[in-house]
Every structure is written in structure tokens, then in C-alpha cells.
Symmetry: C2
Subunit: 486 residues, 2 copies
């Protein structure tokens, strides 16, 4: 049986959809675009509320009036019966059907939901590497230990370049391409540069990466090199690189792709749609996200908020953000200033992806936490290392920054803030291969100092799996297996 | 409209399928298993043709009579009208519908095709990490340079642990679990151990990895540690490790998961199904596969052969296997002995995943090449490095071993063996992050010796993207971009 409700409350679109369904094949981007305006967005300043057209933003994506960040909004969605307001039931049907589609754009877990990110003049400009559609894994061991049956990991490290950044990059790079840029750029300690470089070359654009001299996860920089980016090492920290880049994009026609770019967040909100869809549109109770530059928690909050406003889901999950204790400016902001102001900190953590002292999207993330009733807390280096090894032992693995989610969950559970009956989703942001050195150092016992591991030594040793040198005989090898937990 | 032909030419199954379709939801594994025998396989010796039951194989998977390897066969498929012979049209419909299914097993690109790997007593025993369903990317730059419009890469490096091994491991690990083993083991230089360790812990089993002391790609070993494997370094080469492991599994109840295990190949054949499906069951003209232990080319050959025999596709593609010049035993076997015997070589190549001098599955691979009219050739270290950088510049990236496919294609094209009108698919076997050091060394100019790069210097320099140290001023950064191809 073929169900074909109108996708939009608009006669012309409805006719197109009905025609498509009559042909008994899933609607394609091309068909849909015949009946709807693809570009429906404007930018709204998060600080002063000023609204501008997408093409009028300054090159550094800061509000000319107050200097705050913009976010994308879709005015047509405000009217309850407006012609541009999507129909929830039809969307759910369409997005599901697209999973069987042969069209390239439908294979992207971002553009499959393109009705909720109408940021392009033409979806034909979308630059995709088949990002998204990432696995939602059950975590049986951690669930048992923590007494939470419904514990899942949404593994964004399974994206093409190995991190969650790909979902945002496909969106923002498509805008860069559509607007005719030849160069794109970012300041990045790793994952962003890898993702940007891949999507840039796929789009036929050239890319520039600014990195702080030293303190690089080489595995990540290797990708920017591999994908053909021009990489400049500067004698500056991350924030210094970003400041310099802001000057550069104000001088030269280079498109800025740091997370101040509001289109990145439009792509990064789509895992929220995937999560809701996986739970058959009953959202989980609790979502736990690592907090670095805070674009990801902001974006996921936006995704759930929009779904809720459009009637796709009945409520939002609690969204909690976990930071490393050595890079916890949002934790401090919420504890000391109620999330109204943020003091940058000097960031120290081995979880390089969240080693950020002055996060760009802190206001947006604070809103997501506060409006959903989530928490923000920090975890130590030892807690991160242990949690990472435990996620490895689930057969998943992740980069260190992702492991703060499990470490944070343990604290929340210990504090009685999460009930055993709740459904919890951890957002893992990067692949285990993103920082192989960290893994090797942990298992060889050279990662943590004695101070850092104090009191947790037995737990750490029980998780370590150093490669042993063994005599090449069956007896010696079998002896090595005795008493091993595996 | 709902099309519901019988899946099997069997009244009972047909009834089940019709009932499922009537309920307007995709058939699940549970429903299907009600109407068909899940386990339909036996093992056939590739050398002497002896047939045994799957449970009667010796622990080292060698034929007791002639010492050759087994392959899985499905006797029910031989009878043109037999009840166990799948119905091609119904299968294509079912596999497509499963892409929209909410059931976990259907999210696996291996088990989605489970009717063609009925190796388990119950599909409920399948151990999956949502492997498969990997992207098929167009390669626009390489296509233009080589004058082949229809040039694609099937990127098996986008599997959960970053290599093609996952598709085979899900199959063989499921057998290990179903048969009640507590320990599994492999000798591996990298990708196999990473994959085995992940699936073992997912299955609740313990895993042992034997590796040669030294010559390890640490990025890969880091994964085996991360996923909790016990790793033993032995003073032996790869073949020595495998010999010792054979002794061990004959002594102790440990399940052998090297590629001599015929169930690995059953999983590894499924990318052939994905490729055929992506081309709407018109197979490409040519498939190009890296050749190391030769299990992958064997498996893909088997996949296309079975599809052809069952009437799912009209013909097989040519299958060509490319080796590194320093690890080319199959090239020599075919050139010097017509593929009838193989002399092991001492293997030398920086493409660690194919640094194998005595490949286990050479007979099966030779058959795949010979029966399809493909070629087998080798490429130099410089050719591999250049091809890898070119795949990086497409925005995809891959591990070095994967790049032999593009290097080989260039040679085949130069020799006039592939016409510009042909559709060519390169099988990329590992993710770029699997060997970040190789990428860094290439771009820094420290990978190749002067002898190795002789005559290709300009081409190599044009691809290198070393990170430059630049003064932290806009002018200095903009100067660094001048004249850069991106």
C-alpha cells in the first residue's frame, strides 16, 4: 500500500508528490525541487536577534551590530498553516523511502533530510561523500555495569573522514560551492581540517588549514595532507589561528568553515533526526555529548528543537554536555555565571578534539542544556582514559574526546540524575583510528601520570592490553592466555 | 504497489512471504527463518573436491586428504528447480526493501543478503557491527586523466574497523559464536587483527592475535589493543606466526580466523552483491582488487559467480588482481606456471596490508582471474605512493595497499587492455587513517628513496602537501597560497 499525504501544505507541491507516488517510486530531489523553493532560510543573530539574508553575512559570520554568532532559521515554519511548513507524517514517510532510493543525494544521512535544511538555491549543488546514516549501537557491557538497560552510542566516528564534522561540512561546503568560492579555510586542531579538506577537493575547491605549531594529532593532520589541503603551521594557539583567519577572510575571498559558520550546524543537526527515526520518533530520554567548541551540542539541540516545533516528535531529550576537567569553560560558565557569560580558560587535556578554552558556540550550547533540563559537568584524564578503554571493549572504539560521554554518564548515574529506566544515547564523535597514539600509550601504561591515575590503578591495569613478547612455541602462547579476561 | 513474488520455489516459504507482504512491512530475519532452512551449506575441498559437512572441518581448515583449502558451497542451488534455489527477482526486491527495515540484521550490508550465505543454524547468532553498505564513489579526476568516464571506487575502508575484513569477520565470528567457542585467534599484520578483536568482543568471545615482532603498522595494532585482544609478538615472520597458530588450534579449542577460514570469504563476497545492486544488476565491465593474501579477490569472484549461476546477473565482470612488485607471488605464478603452482617469495613493500609472500588463497584468486579474463600485474612503490595521493586528492583517501588498484588501472589502460567505454570499479580495502605515517612520510618527502622515485620526481612533488611553517600574519599566509593548486 502506498501512503501519499501531501509533503507541504501547498497545492502545487501536493500535486507533484501525488504524481510521484502514482509512479510508485520514491520522490527524488529533482522531483521535489520542481514543487518547492529549496532556499527558505535567513540568518538570525543569537545575541541581538537581528535578521539578515544568508548572502548578507560578513565573511567572519559575526553580527555587525553586536558581534555574536548567527543561526539559520526558516521563517516559513513559524506559521502553523503556512505553505512552507512541512507536513510531519509525509516527511517521515519520504525519509524512510529514500533509504531505498538509487539517487546519490538520498544516500547521504544529511541530505536525506533535506526538507529540514533548505539552505541551497539548488540541491544539485550539494557536495556529499555519503556522510551520516551512522550506526546506533547498543552498549551491553556498560549498560549492565551502570544498571541502564537502554544505553546506546550514536557513532559519528563512522563518517567518511572518521568524525562527526562531516555532517556539518557537507552542508557548509555546499553553500561555499553554490556561492562561487574558489578557496575555503579553517583553523583546526584536527577533525575539522580533515573533513574540510576532503569535501573541498570533492567540490573542486582549494582549502587552507591553519594549525598551531606543535600539539597536533598527526593522524588527523595526515588526512588534510592526503586530501590535498594547504596547511600552514603558525606560532599561535588555536584561538590565535582563528583570530588571524578572521582577518584573512575579511581581506580575501576565502570562505570560512570554522563552526562559527552557521551552515555547519545545519548539517550537524541531522544526527538528531537519525536518532529520532531509529527510535520510531519516540526520542530517547537523555543525550550526552562531548563539549569542545560546542557546535555539536548546539546543533543537536537545534535539530531536536526544530523537530519538536514541527510536530515530528512529542518532546526534546535532555541534552547534557561533558567537558574535560582541563578544558571546562562551559562548566564554569554555568556554575559561576548561570551561563550568561563565559571566561576563556587555558585548555589542557589529551583529548585533543575538545582541547578548546574559548568555545565559539557556548551560548547556543548553554541554551540546549538549559531548555532541556540537561547537565554540564567535567571529567578527569583518568576517567576519560578508562571510559575510552571500556568503549573499546564494547567492540566500538572511539577517539578520546568521545569517551567523556561515558565518563560523564557514570557521574550522572552515581549522582542519581539518571534513572535506570531511562533511554540514554551517547554521541561518539570520532573514530578510534583518529588518535592511535593515545590508545597505544594507554595500553602500554605510559599515558597517565601517577597523580592522574591515583586511586584507579587496579581498574586501569584490568583494562590494559599491552602486546607481550612471547616465545614462538604453542606452550608459551597458551600460557599467555591463562587467566586472561580476553 | 507491493510486488510479492515467492522468495523460494517452495510452497511453505512462499506462504510466509505473501503473509509478510500483506502486512505491508519488510520481511525480517525472524519471519524468513520460519519458512526456510538457514543452514544449507557444506564444504568442498578446492584441491581434491572432497565434500564434508561444515562441522567436520579440522581446526586448521585444511583438507585431511590433500591439505588444500575448503570453500563453502550450497548444494540446493545446483538444482534448477530445487526448493532451496532462491528466486532472483524476489531476492532483489527483498534486499532493497530491507534497506528501509528497522531490524538490526537488515542494517548490515552482509546479512541483508543472508539468503546467499546460509551458513548459520540461526541468523539470531549473527554478530554484526553494521558492516557493509559501503559507498561507491565516482572518481572524476582519475576518470578524466585516464579517459574512462565510468570509473568508481567501492570503498571497503568505510567499514566499522576501517577495512574490508569486517565483511568477512562478521560471517566467521558468527559461526564461532554459534559453535560455542570461547576463544578465537588469528595471525595478522594488522587489519585482520583489528577486525577480529572488535567482532570477538562484540560476540562476548576472547581473542588472541599473533604478530611478527617489528614491522607493524601501529595504527592497526592499536585497534586490537583497544578492542581488548590478547596480543603476542613472536620472533617469526607472518608465515611463521600462521604455522605456529595452526599447531595451537590443533591442540586447544581456539577458533582460527585467518582467511583459510572459508566462512570469512562468505562475508567478503557480499560487496559483489552491493556493487551489482548499485548498477541495477548490470555488472560493471571490470573489477580491480589489491592482491595480498588473495582472500578478497577469491571472495568477490565467488560472489559474482554465484550471482551469475543463480540468474541474478547476466555475466561476471573481469576481475584483475594487482600486487606490489616486492610481494608478487601470484603475478609470478600466473606468468611462469600458468597459475598451476606458486612459489612463495620474501615480501617487501610499504603497503603492509599486502606484504605477503605466501598467500593462502592463491588458487581461488587464480581461478577468479582466469575464468573472467582479468589480469594480474604488479606495480612499484612509487606507483603505489602516487596513486594513493591521487585517491586522496579525490577526497576519499585509502591505505597504501588499496592504491595498487589505481596504479594497476593506469598500466592496464596504457597497455590498451581497458577501453574508454568500459565501467571500472576499484576495490579500496582500507581507510586512509589505517596508516597515517605513510601519508605523512609521503607528503614530507621521506617515504621513497631516490632510486624508487627516479623519473617520477616532478609528479611526486606536484602531489606533496607538506605542512609549512608560516609567520602568523595575513600577508604571510596569503603569500603561501599563491600559485597553489589547492
Amino acid at each position: 500500500m502506498c501512503i501519499n499525504p501531501p509533503l507541504y501544505r501547498n497545492k502545487k507541491t501536493q500535486t507533484v508528490i501525488l504524481r510521484i507516488c502514482g509512479a510508485a517510486k520514491p520522490p527524488s530531489a529533482g522531483n521535489l525541487s520542481a514543487g518547492m523553493s529549496e532556499n527558505l532560510h535567513q540568518l538570525r543573530c543569537f545575541g541581538c536577534g537581528a535578521r539578515i539574508s544568508g548572502v548578507d553575512a560578513s565573511p567572519d559570520f559575526r553580527c555587525a551590530d553586536c558581534g555574536d554568532l548567527f543561526e539559520v532559521e526558516y521563517p516559513g515554519w513559524g506559521e502553523r498553516k503556512g505553505p512552507d511548513r512541512p507536513n510531519p507524517g509525509a516527511l517521515k514517510w519520504l525519509w524512510r523511502e529514500r533509504r531505498c532510493s538509487a539517487e546519490g543525494l538520498d544516500h547521504s544521512g544529511v541530505w536525506r533530510f533535506r526538507e529540514l535544511l533548505p539552505i541551497l538555491e539548488s540541491f544539485g549543488n550539494a557536495v556529499t561523500l555519503r556522510e551520516g546514516n551512522t550506526p546506533l549501537y547498543h552498549l551491553p557491557r556498560a549498560a549492565r555495569r551502570l544498571g541502564i538497560d537502554q544505553l546506546y552510542a550514536k557513532h559519528q566516528g563512522m563518517n567518511p573522514t572518521g568524525s562527526f564534522k562531516d555532517t556539518g561540512m557537507t552542508a557548509a561546503m555546499s553553500v561555499a560551492k553554490e556561492r562561487g568560492f574558489e578557496w575555503v579555510a579553517c583553523a583546526s586542531t584536527g577533525n575539522t581540517s580533515a573533513s574540510m579538506a576532503a569535501y573541498a577537493t570533492r567540490a573542486g575547491l582549494k582549502s587552507l588549514v591553519l594549525i598551531p605549531d606543535g600539539k597536533i594529532a598527526w593522524g588527523k593532520l595526515s588526512q588534510a595532507m592526503d586530501y590535498g589541503a594547504v596547511t600552514c603551521q603558525l606560532k599561535a594557539d588555536f584561538d590565535g589561528c582563528l583570530t588571524l583567519l578572521t582577518e584573512i577572510v575579511n581581506e580575501a575571498p576565502i570562505y570560512l568553515l570554522n563552526s562559527v559558520n552557521p551552515y555547519r550546524l545545519e548539517g550537524q543537526k541531522t544526527p538528531a533526526f537519525e536518532i529520532a527515526e531509529a527510535f520510531d520518533w519516540n526520542v530517547p530520554d537523555h543525550l550526552i555529548v562531548p563539549g569542545g567548541n560546542l557546535g555539536n551540542s548546539s546543533a543537536l539541540g537545534k535539530g531536536f528543537r526544530e523537530m519538536h516545533e514541527l510536530g515530528l516528535v512529542a518532546r526534546m531529550p535532555k541534552i547534557s554536555v561533558i567537558q574535560a576537567a582541563g578544558a571546562n569553560p562551559l562548566v564554569r560558565s554555568l556554575a559561576e555565571h548561570g551561563g550568561k557569560s563565559l571566561e576563556p580558560v587555558e585548555a589542557h587535556t589529551r583529548a585533543t578534539a575538545i582541547r578548546i578554552g574559548n568555545p565559539a558556540s557556548w551560548r547556543k550550547a548553554a541554551r540546549a542544556i538549559q531548555e532541556t533540563g540537561g547537565w554540564c559537568l567535567d571529567v578527569t584524564e583518568a576517567e576519560i582514559a578508562i571510559a575510552k578503554a571500556e568503549i573499546g571493549a564494547e567492540g566500538l572504539g572511539c577517539e578520546p574526546a568521545s569517551a567523556v560521554t561515558l565518563a560523564g554518564l557514570k557521574k550522572l548515574r552515581a549522582e542519581g540524575k539518571i534513572a535506570s529506566s531511562e533511554t540514554v544515547v551517547l554521541v561518539l564523535t570520532g573514530h578510534s583510528l583518529k588518535d592511535a597514539d593515545y590508545t597505544i600509550d594507554f595500553h602500554r601504561g605510559t599515558l597517565l601520570t601517577a597523580d592522574e591515575s591515583a586511586g584507579r590503578e587496579a581498574e586501569i591495569v584490568s583494562l590494559q592490553r599491552n602486546a607481550q613478547v612471547v616465545e614462538a612455541t604453542p606452550a608459551a602462547v597458551l600460557a599467555a592466555l591463562k587467566g586472561r579476561a580476553g
